[in-house]
Symmetry: C2
DNA sequence: CCGTTTTCAACATAATTTTATAGATTTTAT
DNA sequence: ATAAAATCTATAAAATTATGTTGAAAACGG
């Protein structure tokens, strides 16, 4: 399985929840409600949101009445940014980003094919914003309400 | 990191080695030589080659003078077959292949985007054969010999 | 034909990373 | 003060990655 880690998947869903409330007044979303809506452990979400905060994709407000919110409008957040933050990158193999990861690179044919596949993915996620996903979500919920 | 497991990566390199010797007379390749060429533990290669054998991508010959060889010509082995055997699939997320994996599917926007990304990858690996990779390899070695 | 070597085959174990949970602390609004 | 919420630290469970040990089949030399 060429799989995304749970961090990337859960993190995107978390960001999607925040995106849905972006612009609401008094809009900070608390992790507990995300945890309930998405049935993900709140403790795990805490670990996931830290890097999102560090990379300035979300803001936090502490204390009662606090919570998290997007640091920028959803149409200015690329999915590739989320993945890059949570997965390190959206590369299929480390040797693509990390120059020194593997000495075989200059004569490695498999590097070429993983690299090409990675470019395909990157191209897709670079041109996809949180706003796009919000719209997919709304359309889908409309088509099949409840 | 949306990463391929080492099984997929090492396994492809293993298959590439076998492909290079396909057609040689007395061509069975021993794992030890693959292990040395690719600097991968021979024990780990043994674990990787078992599923490749089960799915009939490689044949084995036991005993002295034995080894492994491709079960079909390299231009008739798709990279997607190798990945499917070793990774379970080349899906980014399990919910794409496994119907029952996640109940959120009917109203999950992220499913849509992981699915689309998976189709991109699948399309690429479905149209790429071991022979293609062998040619990339030969071209690369020619360009920068030794 | 017999034993030795070569190789695959099977099983068990160890190390590492990923995934997930738990408890205690700090900050802030009311 | 009190309660709500983020933050910090630790730990546990599971999967992935890797190694070690022994066994079994086939070829080969004598």
């Amino acid at each position: 399985m060429i799989k995304m880690s749970t961090k990337g998947r859960y993190g995107t869903r978390l960001m999607l929840q925040l995106a849905h409330h972006y612009g609401d007044k008094g809009q900070a979303v608390i992790l507990r409600s995300v945890a309930e809506n998405e049935t993900i452990s709140i403790r795990y979400l805490e670990q996931i949101i830290i890097p999102l905060k560090v990379s300035k994709l979300v803001k936090s407000i502490r204390g009662a009445g606090g919570g998290y919110s997007l640091a920028r409008p959803p149409d200015q957040i690329k999915i590739s940014e989320i993945l890059h933050t949570l997965e390190g990158s959206c590369c299929l193999v480390e040797c693509i980003e990390d120059e020194d990861f593997c000495p075989r690179k200059p004569y490695c044919a498999t590097f070429e094919i993983w690299n090409k596949a990675t470019q395909l993915l990157k191209g897709y996620f670079d041109n996809l914003t949180l706003q796009d996903v919000v719209e997919i979500d709304r359309k889908k919920k409309k088509a099949k309400p409840k």
